[in-house]
């Protein structure tokens, strides 16, 4: 008699594999064009034109950049720890990509008589998973800086690690306030709740602001890019890297930006919900597949707006000094997020008791 230990539907495996391939490809493509957008936006803000030579409007620029990185010489420093040196960028890239697994990119489509949820894994601890993976991202920076056997890289890695740890605290506490409202850790449930009511940014404006600032810090973006401060540490943790290993580090930053934009859109701005449209009625009228595509586009639009915001901030605000960074994190954001959590908890309890004390 056969004992089926793992009763996994083969079609499900194929479906998920295709979904993973699509999402990984899309995030890499988006990251590619983020580099282009970054340069263009930087140029526009500084009254320049930006890359406009490779192809019409310079849209082939990222391809040219990627090709250039592949063609460069791979240099591994003599006295570096070879294994860790190669592990560093790999880990940075891996953690950047892994976060995309729990984000609901759209509702579901109906294909070949199957209902396909456009989310790789709807785990009921989605947010915790994201937190776990994002905290692992610091190892990419740490290991890279450590393995380079270079003082500046090591300094930068320590800076990066302590910065990410400090800001993760405030981020976590600001999220607790949100979770008190949602009563769920599953990202899909959170999106569905927002489809019916207001977006959570309306309930948690301060929490959103803290989350946004911490997301900047987690992505090592200006004004928090102290770990790659080129004027002080001449490039920071990826100073010794060349060729595609450097490319991986730079790329991981852009993938991170894409994913954290998606997380913010999901948690605070309704995820794949189409704003000002009753999604369920729309789906009943135009069909589920049409709805799913539009919802995906809606999420994508929100993500693009967030990415633009990231870049806009980068080319506006100068870098923090290290003590200012720490003061903002520990004396500014953590007390603020604690206060936000307490007030939210108070109001949630008050609502449970029917708006009166006793």
């Amino acid at each position: 008699m056969h004992v089926t230990l793992l009763a996994i539907d083969l079609a499900l495996v194929i479906e998920k594999l295709i979904l993973i391939a699509v999402i990984v490809t899309v995030s890499l493509l988006v990251a590619m064009y983020e580099t282009y957008a970054e340069r263009k936006i930087a140029a526009f803000i500084q009254d320049r034109r930006g890359p406009n030579r490779a192809g019409p409007f310079g849209i082939l620029q990222p391809v040219a950049d990627g090709l250039k990185l592949f063609m460069k010489e791979e240099i591994v420093p003599n006295l570096s720890n070879k294994f860790l040196f190669i592990l560093g960028p790999g880990l940075a890239m891996l953690t950047a990509m892994m976060t995309s697994a729990v984000i609901p990119w759209s509702s579901h489509i109906e294909l070949f008589g199957r209902t396909i949820h456009l989310q790789i894994a709807d785990v009921n601890i989605g947010i915790l998973y994201i937190f776990g993976v994002v905290s692992m991202g610091v190892y990419g920076v740490m290991i890279g800086g450590w393995a380079s056997n270079n003082k500046f890289s090591l300094l930068a890695a320590i800076r990066g690690a302590s910065q990410i740890i400090s800001y993760e605290l405030a981020m976590g506490i600001s999220l607790i306030a949100l979770l008190m409202l949602t009563q769920s850790l599953s990202l899909k449930t959170i999106v569905q709740q927002q489809q019916d009511g207001l977006y959570y940014v309306a309930y948690q404006p301060v929490g959103f602001l803290i989350f946004l600032i911490c997301a900047f810090a987690e992505c090592n973006r200006t004004p928090f890019d102290l770990s790659e401060a080129e004027s002080e540490l001449n490039f920071g943790y990826h100073q010794e890297y060349s060729s595609m290993k450097l490319g991986f580090y730079l790329f991981a930053e852009y993938v991170n930006m894409f994913i954290s934009s998606a997380v913010m859109a999901t948690l605070y701005f309704g995820g794949y919900d189409i704003p000002f449209v009753n999604d369920a009625a729309f789906g009943a009228h135009y069909g589920q597949n049409m709805l799913a595509i539009l919802q995906g586009l809606s999420l994508f639009l929100k993500v693009v707006i967030f990415i633009f915001f990231f870049m806009w901030v980068r080319w506006t605000i100068p870098r923090f000094r290290y003590d200012q960074l720490m003061r903002l994190g520990w004396k500014g954001l953590i007390p603020l997020s604690l206060l936000n959590m307490l007030i939210t908890g108070f109001i949630v309890l008050l609502r449970q008791y029917g708006w009166h004390f006793s």
């Binding site: 526009f44 803000i45 500084q46 009254d47 320049r48 034109r49 406009n52 806009w312 080319w315 605000i317």
Partner: protein, 180 residues
């Protein structure tokens, strides 16, 4: 104490107010400024496609001129080489043979005429020295190459195209520059 200039300003060192210390209003102000810059007109000139108008006294790379019938004007007198403060010009003279009257205007011509463009300072003294209007500075100025040797321009590079055989190239090389 009396200020040394009338333009000196006293710096305020008052502690920041709560509103200022919030930092967010200042960020919002800065971001609105940078956002406004996105829509500003760009001052860039897309160089190879667009060029700025030259001043009438612009001095670019030298050109060895021909007359209306396409004969070389240079007689290899050497005055340009004497006038050149950077000592960039060298030449060798040769006598015109019978049957070459359609090539060279006078009985003597420059068999070899070289300007080292890395030495040239584009002062235009060669043009002023020339009694035959044979050399003048054009509106071309971008010389790019891979080796130093290739910056020693010979007659092949310097000679203007033939005005009858290649009229368009001749006009282009001649440019809009007004001779002084």
């Amino acid at each position: 104490m009396q200020a040394l200039t009338s333009r000196s300003k006293t710096v305020e060192r008052k502690p920041m107010t709560i509103w200022e210390r919030l930092y967010i209003p200042a960020i919002a102000k800065g971001m609105s400024i940078t956002f406004g810059h996105i829509f500003k007109k760009k001052p860039t000139i897309n160089y190879p496609e667009q060029t700025r108008p030259f001043s009438p006294v612009f001095r670019g790379l030298q050109v060895l001129n021909r007359d209306e019938e396409g004969r070389e004007r240079c007689t290899a007198c050497g005055l340009c080489a004497v006038a050149c403060p950077a000592e960039a010009i060298t030449m060798e003279a040769a006598e015109r043979l019978p049957g070459e009257e359609n090539l060279y205007r006078e009985e003597k011509y420059a068999a070899k005429y070289e300007i080292n463009m890395l030495r040239c300072i584009f002062c235009g003294l060669c043009e002023e020295a020339c009694p035959k209007d044979a050399i003048y500075l054009s509106e071309t100025f971008t010389a790019a190459n891979y080796s130093r040797q290739s910056f020693i321009y010979g007659k092949k590079e310097l000679l203007i195209p033939h005005p009858k055989l290649q009229p368009e190239a001749y006009e282009k090389a001649k440019g809009q520059r007004v001779k002084r």
